[in-house]
């Protein structure tokens, strides 16, 4: 039964992806990628920029077709039965597809009609989503005149106006201010139950706040899948501590070296990483240390005994640490990458200049 609705075969899984590959020319964007998402789940797709999140979501929304592999949404194959899939999916891309010359109500009515909502039901559906997304007050305003936050809400409203089984949201909080982020979070949480939701983000706290399950995507593959608690248990790691220190009358490097020496005596410390100084000033250095257990007091004591002033000592957000740990082998953090690049350039320049100096004139 190729492509047909096959809920009985797939149980209550709304999404079934098997060995999915997507290539852009010769470049592999995703693959091999396999996963299942159950009905009613709110799943977060977490990954660095370029990891393949958007491509995966576009395939789910039938905006792109896969190069190979099988993707079924609500029992329908995205290649063989794209129209049935599209009728069951609501998609908000990272840039909401809005017409500035239409009013919010006209636009939502248009989106509803495009997505098979019968003409006599359009008005009610539009009123319902306006209420849910709290955009009723701007219903008669031109979309072009709305703030970014409201535009994002209208984007979500168009994605759910036809009552889809699956709602796919690509970076829904992108560009929002803190208040708007909290409101958007509430809105996404409000979709729970009525829809299966897949949200992508590279903001780790966002995923942990809104999602039941996390899919960590790395270089087009699912690197890890589970809840935040499961992720923590899997990695069995302790924590990361951020430090900003001041050494008396020295350079930032001297302060960092002194701190390294002081921390070397603590058995729990696994790794010490020197960061760009968080504050300007003589002898100020910033570090991030990975530790097996909560040894913040011992760390503080050792640093003070070494004659270093502690400007900041704080525990990093757990999920962020876990994410970095998870991708640690294949990736380097951007800051570290930049510093390594700088260091490599400096080394290269140094080698070149030494070579020139050694050459006979």
């Amino acid at each position: 039964m190729a492509g047909g609705a096959a809920r009985s075969i797939f149980g209550n899984h709304v999404i079934e992806i098997q060995e999915l590959y997507k290539y852009y020319g010769d470049r592999r964007a995703i693959g091999p990628l396999s996963t299942r998402i159950a009905q009613g789940e709110v799943v977060g797709l977490l990954g660095l920029n370029g990891a393949g999140k958007t491509t995966t979501l576009r395939v789910l929304a039938c905006d792109l077709l896969p190069t190979s592999g099988s993707v079924r949404v609500a029992g329908f194959d995205v290649v063989e039965r794209p129209d049935e899939v599209r009728a069951k999916v609501g998609y908000l891309p990272d840039r909401p597809p809005l017409y500035d010359d239409m009013t919010v109500r006209e636009y939502l009515s248009y989106a509803a009609r495009l997505r098979n909502v019968p003409a006599n039901h359009v008005k009610k559906r539009v009123a319902d989503v306006e209420e849910l997304t709290e955009i009723g007050d701007v219903g008669n305003q031109l979309i072009g005149s709305l703030s970014h936050g409201f535009k994002q809400r209208v984007g979500i409203a168009q994605a759910i106006v036809h009552g889809p089984e699956l709602v796919v949201l690509d970076e829904p909080i992108s560009g929002l201010d803190p208040v708007q982020i909290m409101e958007m979070r509430e809105l996404v949480r409000g979709l729970r139950g009525a829809h299966t939701v897949v949200v992508s983000s590279h903001i780790l706290t966002e995923i942990s706040e809104t999602c039941d399950r996390i899919l960590v995507i790395d270089e087009g593959r699912i690197a890890w899948s589970g809840t935040e608690t499961e992720l923590s248990a899997t990695l069995k790691q302790g924590m990361r501590i951020a430090l900003t220190l001041r050494g008396a009358g020295g350079s930032a490097q001297a302060t960092a070296d002194k701190a390294r020496a002081a921390l070397a005596g603590l058995a729990s410390v696994r790794d010490v990483e020197v960061l760009e100084p968080a504050e300007a000033g003589e002898g100020i250095a910033s570090l991030r240390i990975a530790v097996e257990s909560d040894v913040r007091e011992e760390v503080g004591k050792s640093l003070v005994q070494a004659g270093l002033g502690i400007l900041e000592l704080s525990r990093e957000k757990e999920l962020e640490s876990m994410f970095l740990e998870l991708l640690g082998e294949g990736h380097e953090q951007p800051g570290r990458r930049r510093r390594k690049k700088k260091q490599a350039e400096a080394d290269a320049a140094h080698t070149e200049s030494s070579a020139q100096n050694e050459e006979p004139s």
């Binding site: 039938c62 905006d63 077709l65 599209r86 597809p97 017409y99 009609r113 495009l114």
Partner: protein, 239 residues
């Protein structure tokens, strides 16, 4: 029919945008000025004046057709709104058809607004109603073909400027096929002449002669480019 939902939205966009009104107004102005100068020649017969009117109007129709169609898909891609259409349960052919209907409808309306000019010939001259009707049929068919070419060009580009340049190049190439026809020997001259967008195929309509071969030619050109635009949209999903 889902194509009509898209056509309605596009017509609405033409009405709200100053660009649509400006293109129509400019085309009507040019048509009027050319008709005025053509009518100053008192030695000309009414039928000849009408033939000249349909010749001049064909140029305005082609330019307006390209300008009206350049935004159809290029603007959607540029603004990211094409995603709304691509992820709705609607076939690519319906997207293309809806866009075509709106642009072709506006162009046809523009052509019909010029009807007062040939009707003025009735005041002092004598022309057949059949000549006027056949002339307008020719204009409408030419408009359909140029709109389809413009829509195809719009499907290829992200920028409206690039779209109109591609469209203009295609239309100019197809018009100039009659020059190629002159330069080659039989039977190729007949072949190229039969493919030319304007010269051999449009002339019968200008003089009021209805030829079903010519009607079929314009319908086939429109169909070919609409099909090509549909294939471009389909191909983009695989990229």
């Amino acid at each position: 029919m889902r194509a009509l939902i898209i056509a309605r939205r596009e017509l609405y966009a033409y009405l709200r945008s100053p660009l649509g009104s400006a293109i129509i107004a400019a085309a009507l102005l040019v048509d009027g000025i050319l008709f005025y100068f053509a009518s100053l020649d008192t030695k000309r017969l009414s039928a000849q004046l009408l033939t000249q009117f349909f010749y001049d109007s064909s140029a305005a129709t082609m330019v307006a057709g390209l300008l009206l169609s350049m935004r159809l898909l290029a603007e959607e891609r540029q603004a990211g709104t094409i995603t709304l259409l691509n992820t709705a349960p609607i076939r690519d052919r319906d997207i293309v058809l809806g866009k075509f209907i709106s642009s072709f409808g506006v162009l046809t309306l523009m052509n019909l607004l010029t009807a007062y000019m040939p009707l003025m010939v009735f005041i002092r001259g004598k022309v057949s109603v059949g000549h006027i009707l056949v002339g307008y049929l020719g204009l409408i068919l030419l408009g359909a073909a140029v709109t389809a070419i413009g829509l195809f060009a719009s499907s290829l580009a992200r920028s409206q400027v690039v779209a109109v340049i591609i469209g203009a190049a295609l239309v100019a190439s197809m018009i100039l096929l009659w020059v190629v026809a002159r330069a080659v020997n039989p039977p190729f001259n007949t072949f190229f002449s039969g493919l030319a967008l304007h010269h051999e195929n449009y002339r019968p309509f200008m003089v009021g002669t209805l030829s079903f071969d010519r009607v079929a030619y314009y319908l086939m050109v429109a169909y070919f480019f609409l099909l090509s635009a549909t294939k471009v949209l389909e191909a983009r999903r695989w990229r």
